[in-house]
């Protein structure tokens, strides 16, 4: 071993150590800078959310809870009255027709979208193998990624007015808006319900089948009730998405200013009213746009948090 020593070139230890020290210091510095950069990027990303929410809530609250004669009041008119023209050219009243329209269109869309989406989810998780399943999976992916304005344009070009291929509606109509929202909701429902059905342990299905239940009763009476909570949140998630969609309803129901529940006539929806009030350039309408935005964001956030909460504690251990 001792003979091997001369083969190693004689190195200046102190120079080597000092070179390594500066290299080490540089590496540590790079590391610190990188950590700082990561922190900065994250801080900006998070603060953007709070900045936007702060604008929406500060402006929204001051419209919904105006201070009159030193007292905090609640602007109930915003929810229960349609727009009214004041003598000075400003607009009074509220956006009741938009809230009503959104609720009505959503309910009609939900009545069709929920069974359709849940049915497809059952097919994917309980029956599925083969060509039809692959095609359906592919279709749901494409529908989920479809720009929502294209959905609105499809309903317009297929069913409404002069442009229609099959003229179901002579002009813009609430029911056409429901058609568009069905297409928005179905892929969300199908995907989320399918994932939740896959959480049901096979032992539950097998127990039912072993007792002689037919497959359809196992699905309807064992599998679906087991995950009823999860299915509900999936449906709520799709309703939340649909409630905030503007383009599909704008292209199909157009928006108008009067209380109307007739699904064959043009209707109004909250996102449309927000869009119109924010961009018309009339200063008195802008606070209402903020207030409408706040209402919309609160409704959607409540839905999303509920979804997060329920899916977070879903464990279907047999």
């Amino acid at each position: 071993m001792a003979q091997a020593q001369p083969l190693v070139p004689q190195l200046d230890r102190t120079a080597l150590i000092s070179a390594e020290k500066t290299r080490y210091a540089r590496r540590q510095l790079t590391n610190t800078i990188a950590s700082g950069l990561m922190f900065f990027l994250t801080a900006v990303s998070v603060s953007v959310l709070f900045i936007i929410l702060a604008y929406i809530f500060i402006n929204g609250i001051s419209t919904l809870f105006p201070v009159v004669d030193g007292h905090l009041t609640f602007n109930l008119d915003f929810f229960i009255k349609p727009p009214e023209s004041n003598l000075d050219g400003t607009t009074g009243g509220g956006v009741a027709q938009a809230i009503l329209g959104t609720i009505e269109i959503l309910i009609v869309a939900g009545i069709i979208a929920v069974p359709l989406g849940v049915g497809a989810a059952i097919y994917l998780s309980e029956y599925g193998t083969g060509f039809l399943v692959n095609t359906l999976n592919f279709t749901i992916d494409l529908l989920a990624g479809l720009p929502s304005v294209v959905v609105g344009l499809f309903v317009l070009a297929a069913f409404i007015g002069n442009l229609a291929l099959i003229k179901i509606f002579p002009h813009f109509a609430g029911l056409a808006g429901s058609f568009a929202l069905i297409i928005v909701m179905v892929p969300i429902i199908a995907r989320s319900v399918e994932q939740i059905l896959r959480l049901v342990p096979d032992s539950l299905r097998e127990a039912g089948l072993a007792l002689g239940m037919p497959k359809w009763r196992v699905i309807l009476q064992i599998v679906l009730p087991t995950v009823a909570g999860g299915i509900t949140t999936g449906i709520m998630l799709s309703l939340a998405r649909a409630a905030g969609e503007t383009a599909p309803v704008l292209l199909t129901i157009l928006g108008q200013q009067f209380i109307s529940t007739d699904l064959l006539q043009p209707m109004d929806a909250l996102p449309i009213r927000i869009y119109k009030y924010a961009t018309t350039g009339q200063p008195d309408l802008i606070p209402k746009a903020w207030a409408g935005t706040m209402v919309l964001v609160i409704v959607i956030a409540l839905f999303s948090i509920a979804v997060r909460y329920v899916t977070g504690r879903n464990r279907y251990d047999a």
């Binding site: 540590q28 790079t30 590391n31 950590s35 950069l37 990561m38 922190f39 990027l41 994250t42 990303s45 998070v46 953007v48 936007i52 929410l53 929406i56 359709l116 049915g119 497809a120 059952i122 097919y123 029956y127 039809l132 399943v133 095609t135 359906l136 279709t139 992916d141 494409l142 529908l143 990624g145 479809l146 720009p147 294209v150 344009l153 499809f154 070009a157 297929a158 409404i160 002069n162 442009l163 179905v186 037919p214 497959k215 359809w216 939340a240 905030g244 969609e245 503007t246 383009a247 292209l251 996102p271 927000i274 869009y275 961009t279 802008i286 935005t293 919309l296 964001v297 956030a301 999303s304």
Partner: protein, 319 residues
């Protein structure tokens, strides 16, 4: 006797039920097929009349029925790419921060907060962009960019012209905020999928945290991050209301190349012109064709990004 009857009833019940769920599946597939069919049929008019000119000519003149969608295609491409460039560093930085620098619980809280941005509807971004961001950019960031980058030979061309606030740049910033959570969510997942041993091995060999991230984590997660960015891109391309409210909805004959030019995207042109267009045959066809182009482009990018993301998932389950 009674046993055989009940078993045939059982079979019948199963047959009916499976037919019902199959019908749901077929109906959903038919919806997609009819969307494509209707858009193709209703845009025949302009496809036949203008052909490729629809994509290469820049004049959009509904009065004289001349339709070239170049400004909208240009607007879509530039806003989406700029949004992607603005959002990706923040998304990747945040994804690495929440999965490598802080405890999992805190990381989850941070990413949940950022992902709440997804829940805010497009029109809310539009309201904020139109009433707040537009003026902030026009009075501070835009002049600063013009002063600093403007004199530089080639880059300066991006920051020229009068400042209105409703332009490509404002839309891109809004889009960047909107796609940030999409890219973050995917990036965080793929960063978490990187095997711990790779990183721990590097740390054990004396690497700094950043070196471990740069050498062990980023290369491993790269494909997935690109997939996430593409998903964000698909979302930016199809985004309608926020862009409609901030881009100015102009149909410029001449594209200046400046980010301060007002134009439209495919989606915003549809949203701002559908009502006039549906009354006239050729105009209607032109707007439907915009939708068809949008459908094709966003679907291709969407499928490609899903392919990239799923490929990283598959790779990780094997290792």
């Amino acid at each position: 006797m009674s046993a055989s009857r009940s078993s045939s009833q059982v079979q019948q019940g199963d047959r009916i039920f499976s037919l019902i769920v199959q019908a749901c599946a077929v109906l959903i597939i038919l919806i997609l097929v009819s969307i494509i069919a209707v858009l193709v049929i209703k845009s025949q008019d302009t496809i036949g009349r203008f052909g490729l000119d629809f994509f290469t000519k820049g004049t959009w003149d509904p009065v004289n029925e001349i339709f070239g969608a170049l400004p909208y295609i240009y607007g879509t491409v530039v806003t989406s790419i700029l949004a992607l460039l603005l959002a990706t560093p923040f998304a990747i930085g945040s994804a690495i921060f929440v999965s490598e620098y802080v405890p999992r619980r805190i990381g989850d809280i941070i990413s949940f907060t950022v992902e709440l941005l997804v829940a805010i509807p497009s029109v809310a971004y539009g309201v904020w962009g139109f009433l707040v961001l537009k003026d902030v950019l026009r009075t501070t960031v835009d002049p600063a960019l013009k002063a600093v980058v403007g004199p530089i030979p080639i880059l300066g061309g991006l920051f020229r012209g009068p400042l209105y606030g409703l332009d490509i740049f404002t839309s891109s910033v809004i889009l960047a905020i909107m796609i940030l959570p999409t890219i973050l969510a995917v990036s965080r997942e793929v960063v978490r999928q990187v095997p711990r041993l790779q990183k721990e091995g590097m740390i054990a060999l004396g690497a700094t945290k950043w070196e471990a991230i740069r050498i062990a984590i980023i290369p491993y997660a790269r494909t997935g991050i690109v997939g996430g960015a593409m998903l964000g891109l698909a979302r930016a391309i199809g985004e309608t209301m926020a862009v409609t409210m901030t881009i100015g909805n102009a149909s410029p004959d001449k594209l200046t190349g400046s980010l301060f030019q007002s134009t439209s995207t495919l989606a915003s042109a549809i949203a701002s012109q559908f009502n006039e267009a549906q009354a006239a045959r050729t105009y209607g066809s032109a707007v439907v064709q915009l939708g068809l182009v949008l459908l094709i482009v966003s679907s291709v990018i969407n499928l490609f990004s899903r392919f990239l993301v799923s490929r990283t998932g598959a790779k990780n389950t094997r290792s």
